[in-house]
């Protein structure tokens, strides 16, 4: 069992839609792999990531995450699985604004029942590797700069030491300089924890940081083929 993610013949059609939004014939991601998925908006990437997270269920086909199929899980089991094995970093507004940085980072760990001492050790080591000052811990999340917020979001995504990190356009709100710094820190931290990273972005610039590249246009068979675009 060396795959972090395996997808076979999956399709997803939004309720009330006539045609499937997403059709993926086959995709497998090895453990520890860094995968860059290029996709513009409307390419089905949101749907794809929701399926990977178990927030949506495929109409047909099978998705295995770390060898487990969401099909056989209850909602509660899915939530549990998600909090323990998958970390998320979103484009923006990753943090609960009224909670402190510390509480934000600790949230997934508390939900999965990690003890206080481990939470504190892990938090410190993550802050260290993301070059965040421990003085920030007591601050409200919404008092931080966007760059700091995104790094805190990475810390939160990794607190449970998940096998998989899903990052969706995490740099789109950052300027060029901050972008490079963020990518460096993210990938360093990822290397330390050894998690599989699935990084989705429309920004081809970032491709250079990754060993595997895929494009939604190749992946998603439900998309109209290039050149046959009705528009």
């Amino acid at each position: 069992m060396t795959y972090a993610i395996e997808c076979q013949e999956i399709t997803y059609t939004w309720p009330q839609a006539n045609n499937p939004t997403l059709t993926i014939e086959s995709l497998s991601v090895e453990k520890g792999e860094r995968l860059f998925i290029h996709g513009a908006s409307g390419s089905g990437k949101s749907t794809f990531l929701s399926l990977l997270a178990g927030l949506l269920t495929a109409n047909s086909g099978e998705i295995k995450v770390l060898g487990n199929s969401f099909h056989s899980m209850s909602d509660r089991q899915k939530d549990r699985f998600r909090s323990q094995h998958i970390g998320f970093v979103f484009q923006q507004f990753n943090l609960i604004p009224y909670l402190s940085v510390e509480d934000n980072i600790a949230l997934p760990a508390k939900i999965s029942g990690l003890d206080k001492a481990s939470i504190s050790t892990r938090t410190r080591s993550l802050l260290d590797s993301l070059l965040l000052d421990t003085k920030l811990l007591k601050q409200r999340a919404d008092q931080l700069s966007i760059g700091q917020q995104q790094r805190v979001a990475v810390a939160r995504a990794l607190i449970n030491e998940p096998e998989i990190l899903i990052a969706d356009e995490p740099t789109s709100a950052l300027d060029e300089e901050a972008k490079d710094e963020f990518m460096g820190l993210l990938l360093n931290t990822q290397q330390r924890t050894g998690s599989t990273i699935i990084f989705v972005s429309h920004d081809r610039e970032l491709m250079k940081h990754f060993d595997q590249h895929k494009s939604m246009t190749e992946l998603n068979a439900a998309l109209p083929k290039r050149g046959t675009n009705v528009l």
Partner: protein, 411 residues
């Protein structure tokens, strides 16, 4: 963890939470106050007379007899002849009687003609006897004993002389000026209509009305036991040697051939009268229920409208592995925290207000109130409020649940 998050989330929306809290607090204050007033009114109503076995008057409805004899509201249609009174008072089953002669007034306060039996036997509250705060009962026919509130309001003291007016208006054209009464005693406050009455001996009243008694100025009330006033009285209260005979005597009086009389058991008549007032009670209850409903809807609205701005937050909770039922729980806890805070604030405010106004109420209005609004009824209402609140916050809770279930990862 949930409490901490719920608390911080509420603190994050201080203004709208504060407004909701204020509106809920005001509503709970209204509910508590209405309930407290109702129970206190009922209590003070029921404490107006006690220890009296029967009240007898000319034939009328029980409620009317109760109203004029005890509450001093309205007038008797007829008097009782002295023969009937003497006959019943002389019955071996009867231990004591308090004659009452009504119809005169002093500066708007009712005058009650009676005798010293009134101070000896009349009871109120839980079998409490009347007591004098100053002076004592009648010694001559032209003595008068004031209720606590009259003395306070008109600033009379023992030894002052006053004149009575015929009829019960504040201004009367027929004053009994030739026969002044001297104040010999002032009663302690009771919180009953006794506080608002002037008590004079029957003979003095007759004298003022021009019914001549021989040498009435020296006439002593002590002698009066031997020679009951020959004039008519309005009603009388009586106590029995044994309560066992109360229904027997009541029937005998109601069926008395010599004169058309009505005898009532004060407790029964009080209960009947309270039923009449029950409508008012219900109206109060409906009003407070509506106020309550309005503010509970306010809470639901507040939570519901906050749901839109909190969609992102709920989505984040879900993405870090919080189950949708936990999100639901979070919303419920927030609502219950607000309700708990509002209940505590309302009870505290009502208690403080009652404590501060207690002295003033009893001095100015002779109202004796309980300063603690806590009772099993209030606990019941608070329970209902909590229940209603958690039910109403199901709405935003369900909205939160739905929105998080349908959410895809938004990027």
């Amino acid at each position: 963890m949930f409490f901490k998050i719920a608390w911080k989330s509420l603190m994050n929306r201080k203004l709208s939470v504060a407004l909701t809290l204020a509106s809920l607090t005001v509503s709970i204050i209204i509910v508590i106050s209405v309930e407290h007033i109702r129970s206190q009114a009922r209590e003070s109503f029921n404490r107006t007379v006690s220890g009296v076995d029967l009240i007898v008057g000319a034939r009328t409805s029980p409620i009317n007899l109760l109203l004029y004899s005890v509450f001093r509201i309205g007038n008797a249609s007829n008097n009782i002849g002295s023969e009937s009174y003497e006959l019943i008072a002389g019955d071996p089953r009867v231990a004591w009687t308090i004659p009452l002669s009504l119809g005169d007034s002093h500066r708007g306060f009712r005058v009650v003609g009676s005798n010293n039996n009134f101070f000896e036997h009349f009871q109120y509250g839980t079998q409490q006897h009347l007591s004098f705060s100053q002076g004592s009962g009648f010694t001559t026919a032209y003595d008068t004993v004031l209720g606590a509130q009259i003395a306070k309001q008109l600033q009379y003291r023992v030894g002052d002389s006053i004149t009575l007016s015929h009829g019960i208006g504040e201004v009367s054209f027929s004053n009994h000026e030739s026969t002044p009464f001297r104040i010999t005693g002032i009663l302690a406050a009771t919180g009953t209509p006794v506080d608002q009455a002037l008590h004079v001996p029957l003979e003095g009243l007759d004298g003022a009305h021009g019914i001549v008694h021989d040498d009435h100025h020296e006439h002593s009330v002590v002698d009066e036991h031997h020679h009951i006033a020959s004039s008519e009285i309005t009603a009388f209260m009586l106590g029995l040697n044994s309560r066992m005979s109360v229904f027997e005597l009541q029937r005998a009086i109601n069926e008395y051939d010599g004169e058309a009389l009505t005898a009532i058991l004060p407790g029964v008549a009080l209960a009947e009268l309270w039923q009449v007032m029950g409508t008012v009670e219900n109206i109060l209850a409906v009003i407070s229920a509506l106020v309550m409903l309005a503010s509970l809807l306010g809470i639901a609205t507040m939570l519901l409208s906050s749901m839109r701005e909190r969609q992102r937050e709920i989505f984040l909770f879900r993405s870090v592995g919080m189950h949708s039922s936990s999100v639901f729980l979070l919303i419920e806890i927030e609502a219950l925290l607000i309700t708990a805070a509002a209940s505590v604030a309302a009870i505290a405010l009502v208690s403080i207000a009652l404590t501060l106004s207690q002295t003033w109420l009893s001095q100015e209005f002779g109202l004796l109130i309980d300063t603690s609004p806590l009772s099993s009824n209030i606990a019941f209402y608070i329970g209902i409020i909590f229940l209603a609140c958690s039910v109403l916050s199901l709405l935003p809770g369900i909205a939160a649940y739905r929105s998080s279930l349908g959410t895809q990862l938004k990027f």
